[in-house]
Subunit: 340 residues, 2 copies
């Protein structure tokens, strides 16, 4: 079953060099020999050993992808697009799940560099605040493309979403629906995305001359359903009145809605709720969840496109030239903000 190039050469009474060149269509091999070699290779099922080829070509045709949470549908959708496009361009994907842990992320980067991937596409873990491992990637002449959760200070290609604009759109939508007492369940100080959504919320209030009330802003410790439920309960029990709620993620919004429904509060008429991300689940529940779509597929597609363009640059001019891309979000109006 396994047959090497050398062995083929021996059987065809040719030198290994001739066989290699025939397979790679070098001009100094006759058409007759090329056809002979190719048809024989097909017949015996010869496949070049990628590892061995690498030693000379220095290309593995492999991309490393690191994602903070592989079960998160948003990252999942990005990954799906990345994989489809990688396959189309004959690249393999080595996948790493950093589980939002900096140390695991660092370990994965080193592992990928050791495996000599041609590039690394990654979204940073929440607690990543030093970037030595990223600089290390660039120092190894490996392409780096950051997506979604990026480090703005690192000199590499990036694709991310305008989170502030997203937060603004979400909040303004609530205001347009007539809400005036709008709460926000925000994230912590990491990553930047969660801060930006909060800043969008602040700006929408400010632009619409609604005074900001810090008591209406609660901080989530995770983006889970349970957190949404807990914070909604906390807010409700504190007695602060609201008629609108913007949550940092769809899951948090779903948790909050569950609590409000248990209290027989009418969603959206008493309290309108909007999430962020356009997770599939938001379309399954009742009332269906208004949200901000982040164009996951687009992020994945652009990440691959940037990689390919950098890879080409590296090959032809032996240098990296990076590019930043900021994608706008889209408002998805559903029942949870459809007041009557």
């Amino acid at each position: 079953m396994k047959i090497s190039l050398k062995e083929m050469a021996k059987r065809l009474s040719l030198s290994p060099a001739a066989v290699s060149k025939a397979l790679n269509d070098y001009p100094d091999i006759s058409l007759a020999t090329k056809n002979l070699v190719k048809s024989y290779a097909k017949k015996v099922g010869y496949k070049a050993n990628s590892q061995a080829s690498f030693l000379r070509s220095q290309k593995t045709k492999t991309i490393g992808v690191i994602i903070p949470d592989i079960t998160n549908p948003f990252f999942n959708k990005i990954l799906k697009t990345i994989m489809t496009l990688a396959q189309k361009n004959n690249y393999s994907i080595i996948l790493g799940n950093s589980k939002e842990s900096f140390s695991l992320e660092e370990k994965l980067v080193n592992q990928f560099l050791q495996q000599k991937v041609d590039g690394i596409l990654m979204s940073l873990a929440n607690d990543t605040s030093q970037y030595k491992h990223l600089e290390n990637i660039l120092a190894n002449d490996t392409v780096l493309v950051l997506f979604d959760k990026v480090a703005k200070l690192i000199n590499c290609s990036k694709v991310f979403v305008d989170d502030k604009d997203g937060g603004f759109k979400a909040t303004e939508h609530l205001i347009k629906k007539g809400c005036t007492k709008i709460a926000h369940f925000r994230g912590g100080l990491n990553p930047q995305n969660s801060i930006d959504r909060y800043l969008g919320y602040r700006e929408a209030l400010s632009v619409n001359k609604i005074s900001f009330d810090p008591n209406k802003v609660l901080i989530t410790s995770s983006g889970s359903i349970e957190q949404g439920y807990i914070l909604a309960k906390k807010l409700y029990e504190s007695g602060i009145e609201i008629d609108g709620l913007f949550c940092i993620t769809d899951m948090v919004a779903l948790g909050a809605i569950r609590f409000f429904k248990e209290q027989k509060i009418d969603i959206p008429n008493e309290i309108s709720v909007i999430g962020f991300s356009n997770t599939m689940a938001g379309n399954l529940v009742y009332p269906s969840l208004s949200t901000i779509d982040q164009k996951a597929s687009k992020i994945g597609a652009e990440a691959v496109r940037l990689f390919l363009s950098e890879e080409k640059m590296l090959k032809t001019e032996n240098r990296l030239e990076n590019q930043s891309l900021v994608l706008k979000t889209t408002l998805i109006k559903r029942e949870s903000t459809q007041r009557i």
Copy 2:
């Protein structure tokens, strides 16, 4: 930044062989030299080139994983477990998404073999009915572990779920809740899993002396929400009366429930509904969805365990010895079958 073993040897005035041996703790290198080499390697950030190491060791410390649908939460959960355990055992994961397509699956297998992965863990696409590519894996002395959607005829390690037992449990649960006119939305003739669930349904009816009515069985063309909605509508409009429904997947069940709710049919009291897979979404909707849990994590964990055990066998005794594992499902009772 990049430094090779050879270069280190030169700088330390040692032979490449001595450096290699020192790093790999060979007994014929003095402790002093080992310490010198190791500390110098650490200092200059030396990392062995995996591709080069492979040429001699023939081990890439890489596992190829092929999944039919990477966005499916069930496979996603399996993948997550596989990745965690692989990482723990110092293996990298090369991921392939076959998108339920045989030809893509075949292509991925060949690609992985060419990359010389140490093993392939895969779940078959629905339209895979020839197994030459699987035999090819074994012929290349590469470990093969099939999970969930397996080919029983292939002589390799397997982990899968007792789908017939799951279908039986689901149907019997409806019967115990008092349902007597139970419909089933089944899958097509591929994969075996969907047939087995149907057979479990048939058996539960038979054991409980409920006569089988072929008019109550509809065939889905996909496992989507839309399909569930369409089939529920079709069944409703045909005028056939039912008081229970067992769907091949949770998504199909959610689609059916949506249609019934639109018709103001009381779930679970007029019609009780149960799904299959225990997808997260089933817990988010109202009424929450009863279902059959397939222990995705367990499947992933066992797949890795089987791989490691086969890999060890291959190394020590130079042969493959496979093992089959059948996991039992668990019934998850929720609101969609909780009659009052």
